[in-house]
């Protein structure tokens, strides 16, 4: 099911959840430690680094942005980020908020639990886009209920 190389052991569930929790804490700190939040804008699995104990640390802040100002929920910005992880409403309108990072976190979380990358052209057409694949799988579950 996963994109793991043959013979390679996947990360244990406990380790995966530890990584997800650490990355979430880093993101929460950026969003809430100051009066004006920092929007990371590039939350993706290649930017989450792991120390010797698999503690997650966010890296690469080149696209990070300060804002929006207090009392405002969103700001307008030139669309930057990585295709696949970028929130659709931000990609379409340029309206940026901390929620854009939360969408990206959701994508990474799906990668963590599925072991699949967000885009994988080596798969069957209907499974190449992880988000679409999960959405269709979810619909199937609901339909069978």
């Amino acid at each position: 099911m996963s994109d793991l190389a043959e013979g390679k052991e996947p990360l244990e569930w406990k380790t995966r959840m530890k990584i997800a929790e650490g990355a979430a804490k880093g993101l929460e700190y950026l969003h809430s430690s100051r009066d004006t939040p920092i929007i990371y804008r590039d939350f993706k699995s290649s930017n989450i680094l792991l120390d010797e104990n698999f503690n997650a640390k966010l890296s690469d802040f080149g696209l990070a942005k300060i804002g929006p100002k207090e009392g405002q929920e969103q700001m307008t910005s030139r669309v930057m980020g990585t295709f696949g992880y970028c929130a659709p409403e931000y990609a379409a309108t340029g309206k940026l908020s901390t929620k854009s990072d939360i969408y990206s976190f959701g994508v990474v979380f799906l990668e963590i639990i599925s072991g699949r990358r967000v885009f994988d052209t080596s798969r069957a057409t209907e499974e190449q886009n992880l988000i679409d694949w999960v959405c269709s799988a979810t619909k199937l579950v609901h339909a069978s209920e």
Partner: protein, 105 residues
């Protein structure tokens, strides 16, 4: 790579050398320094130092032994290497290190 800061600590670091071409890279380089100097948290990578001398654009981070999450998801880590190949690629020699302005942290 191990470098000495004063006589007391020896620390393994990761070094990122930026492509010297393009305004975009320079903007992101200074944004990275600005952001990382404003924040401090166990779940954010620590910036140890940087170099912005002439056209050199170099960032020095704490070393992360298990690489990136992506390499684990995709099984790209080499057996027992424990080193993210993208970081390994950026490690430079001591001659370049002499150009660093190491922040005292």
């Amino acid at each position: 790579m191990k470098i000495s800061c004063k006589e007391f600590c020896v620390q393994t670091v990761a070094v990122k050398v930026l492509n010297r071409d393009g305004a975009q890279g320079t903007r992101e380089f200074f944004a990275e320094i600005l952001m990382l100097s404003m924040v401090q948290h166990p779940n954010l990578v620590k910036l140890i130092g940087y170099c912005a001398d002439d056209s050199y654009r170099i960032l020095v981070y704490e070393f992360m032994a298990n690489g990136s999450l992506e390499t684990h998801l995709l099984g790209m880590m080499t057996e027992n290497s424990g080193v993210d190949l993208t970081l390994q690629k950026h490690i430079v020699d001591y001659a370049t290190l002499t150009r660093f302005y190491l922040c005292q942290t």
